[in-house]
């Protein structure tokens, strides 16, 4: 029983780390641009497919493929900012609607390019790491995800707190009009936020490609999870997103292990509904932004 609990805990840590990458990107984009990016799950999907393309089909090194995937998805993010979100800045629901359209386009484009069937990506290393306890281990591939997530989130935190660009980003998130009056270019902060946010989703997809089935609709479940996390965490809060990702991952993983996946999904959604009813600003949210 103890092994099962520990193993479930290890799985939850893995789930928390890639969900945090996705949710933090979503929060960053929302904070700086005020856009709810419904196509965020599809950016994750694009990350997974870039690993499939560069690592499986082109035979590149796995980590090189992940890096290419991150930059590629970040570039897709830049394109979205320029083509969709910037022209729609004055339309409160516009960005959300445009991203729903883009979601359909990306799913359909990937289906046309790679087929509906799910792709098999073999992990570069099959080994698992034990912890000295029988029955508790973590596949190396999952450990990579955890390490990458921690490293990237720490890097992002340093960037936001220590660099001038980071200050500009946070100032825009607090009050975009006042930031613009101080000479901060909203176009530039939007570009940076979009590149980082999309890149984080891309790297999450790239690293998990060998673990989950890589298919055109894989972003579907991810976006639902990400929304639950950002609502529970408080919709503009990066720290909240990380904490909520850990909380959600533990609840979801344990309920899945001891009941089943559908019950876990229901539990997660109810968790979000309860937070919405009791404290709509979420655990870490301070002000209402809608």
């Amino acid at each position: 029983m103890l092994e099962l609990l520990l193993q479930t805990g290890v799985n939850a840590v893995y789930a928390a780390s890639y969900m945090a990458l996705i949710a933090v990107g979503l929060v960053l984009i929302f904070g700086v641009m005020g856009v709810i990016n419904f196509a965020h799950g599809e950016l994750y999907m694009l990350g997974a497919y870039s690993v499939f393309f560069f690592y499986v089909e082109q035979g590149l090194n796995f980590f090189l493929a992940v890096a290419i995937g991150m930059v590629f998805v970040g570039a897709v993010g830049l394109l979205m900012e320029r083509a969709l979100f910037r022209p729609l800045r004055d339309n409160p629901l516009g960005g959300l609607i445009a991203s729903i359209g883009l979601l359909l386009c990306l799913q359909s484009a990937v289906t046309l390019g790679f087929g509906v069937r799910s792709k098999n990506v073999n992990p570069p290393i099959q080994k698992a790491v034990g912890f000295g306890i029988d029955g508790v281990s973590v596949p190396l591939q999952r450990l990579y995800v955890v390490i990458a997530a921690v490293a990237l989130l720490v890097a992002l935190w340093l960037f936001l707190k220590r660099s001038r660009f980071g200050w500009a980003l946070r100032a825009t998130a607090q009050d975009s009009e006042a930031a613009a009056l101080q000479g901060i270019s909203l176009n530039q902060t939007s570009r940076i936020a979009m590149f980082i946010g999309a890149g984080l989703a891309g790297v999450a997809g790239a690293l998990t490609a060998p673990i989950v089935p890589t298919e055109p609709l894989m972003g579907h479940g991810v976006i639902v999870t990400a929304f639950i996390i950002i609502i529970v965490g408080g919709i503009g809060s990066l720290e909240g997103a990380v904490v909520a990702a850990v909380l959600y991952a533990f609840v979801h993983t344990f309920v899945t292990t001891f009941f089943d996946g559908t019950v876990a999904d229901i539990t997660g959604l109810l968790l979000m509904l309860i937070v919405l009813v009791i404290k709509p600003t979420g655990l870490f949210g301070t002000k209402e932004r809608a």
């Binding site: 022209p87 729609l88 359909l104 359909s108 639902v224 919709i235 959604l269 509904l273 919405l276 709509p280």
Partner: protein, 336 residues
């Protein structure tokens, strides 16, 4: 009263066209037509909620509540199908009433996400509980609409054309109700809540009760659409009511526009024709979501008020061409 005549003639022409329409179509197009008529009710009822300024992502689940409820009532208890359809719609209304308590503590984006979560919980329950909802495979062999015999001829409703006429009548009656609601004092209050909710509340409008009323009425008619669907297909499953059809409803409504009663209907009709007839004829089946997504993006970028915003322009052109006596600006104000 002389202005009524062209309107009546137009309505009569539309009625004749709708009656003759299915006989000009292939069998698969007749099937599409049945769903189109049902979807007209789905988007028109959705608009009733958007009048209050709230956008729900749970509307298709409400369609599903009506479908499941009507199917179960008729199948398990042997209730006469037309009655069970009304009861199914009522169940959707009751579910909406219960959901109003948590959901209308939220507004805007929070309501959007909250309604999605509530809907998804309901849908996952259908998937989870094999009894009575049938689990992931859903319900099968739902009784169809009973045959109607008028004189010598019997109308059987497994037939797409006959069911189309039935759906047309049900949907037309529902649209009249929806239109009357919108034009009533209640509908005006919905508008007031949308544009000036604080002001409306300060003159004594109970915002929660108004939003609840709109949500319950919208869900009732959505449930009726679902009941039509259930008794036509005779089989339903949870996947029919997931996010994907909801995204389509959003696309229809947004591309059509929500400022007028006919906007969403225009959207669903035009996009269904493009999707099911033009794109299917072109043979680009897998690329169809690509086209729809592109249409949505282009319309939000270049036609943010929807297709309905083109109608007055076209009408204006037509009017100007018809009476070239110079008093064309007066026509607009007279109508308003």
């Amino acid at each position: 009263m002389p202005n009524r005549l062209p309107l009546l003639l137009g309505a009569a022409a539309l009625a004749v066209a709708l009656i003759l329409l299915p006989h000009q179509l292939s069998f698969s197009q007749q099937e599409v037509l049945v769903f189109l008529v049902i979807n007209v009710l789905v988007v028109a009822s959705y608009r009733l909620l958007t009048l209050t300024g709230e956008w729900s992502l749970g509307h298709v689940v409400m369609v599903g509540v009506g479908a499941y409820a009507s199917a179960l009532i008729s199948k398990q208890f042997g209730v006469w199908v037309p009655l069970s359809m009304v009861l199914g719609a009522a169940v959707a209304g009751v579910v909406a009433f219960i959901l109003s308590f948590p959901l209308f503590r939220m507004k805007g984006f929070y309501f959007l996400i909250g309604s999605f979560a509530a809907g998804e919980v309901i849908r996952l329950c259908w998937k989870k509980f094999r009894y009575p909802f049938g689990g992931p495979k859903g319900l099968k062999s739902i009784p169809g609409f009973p045959d109607i015999t008028i004189g010598e001829t019997t109308f059987a409703f497994w037939n797409a054309v006959n069911f189309y006429y039935l759906a047309l009548i049900v949907v037309a009656v529902a649209l009249v109700f929806l239109y009357r609601i919108e034009k009533s004092r209640l509908g005006l209050t919905f508008h007031a809540l949308h544009w000036q909710d604080k002001l409306a509340e300060s003159v004594g409008v109970n915002a929660w009760r108004m939003r609840m009323t709109a949500f319950v009425a919208a869900s009732f008619f959505a449930g009726l659409a679902g009941a039509l669907q259930a008794h036509y297909l005779t089989t339903i499953n949870p996947t029919m009511f997931d996010v994907e059809p909801m995204v389509y409803v959003l696309i229809w409504v947004i591309v059509g526009g929500t400022a007028t009663f006919y906007g969403p209907i225009l959207g669903v009709v035009i996009l269904t024709v493009i999707n099911e007839i033009v794109l299917r004829e072109l043979g680009v089946d897998q690329a169809r979501p690509l086209f729809l997504g592109a249409i949505l993006i282009l319309s939000i970028l270049f036609l943010p008020k929807g297709l309905e915003s083109l109608v007055p322009k076209i009408g204006g052109l037509w009017k100007r061409r018809n009476k070239d006596d110079g008093n064309s600006p007066g026509g607009e104000t007279e109508k308003a």
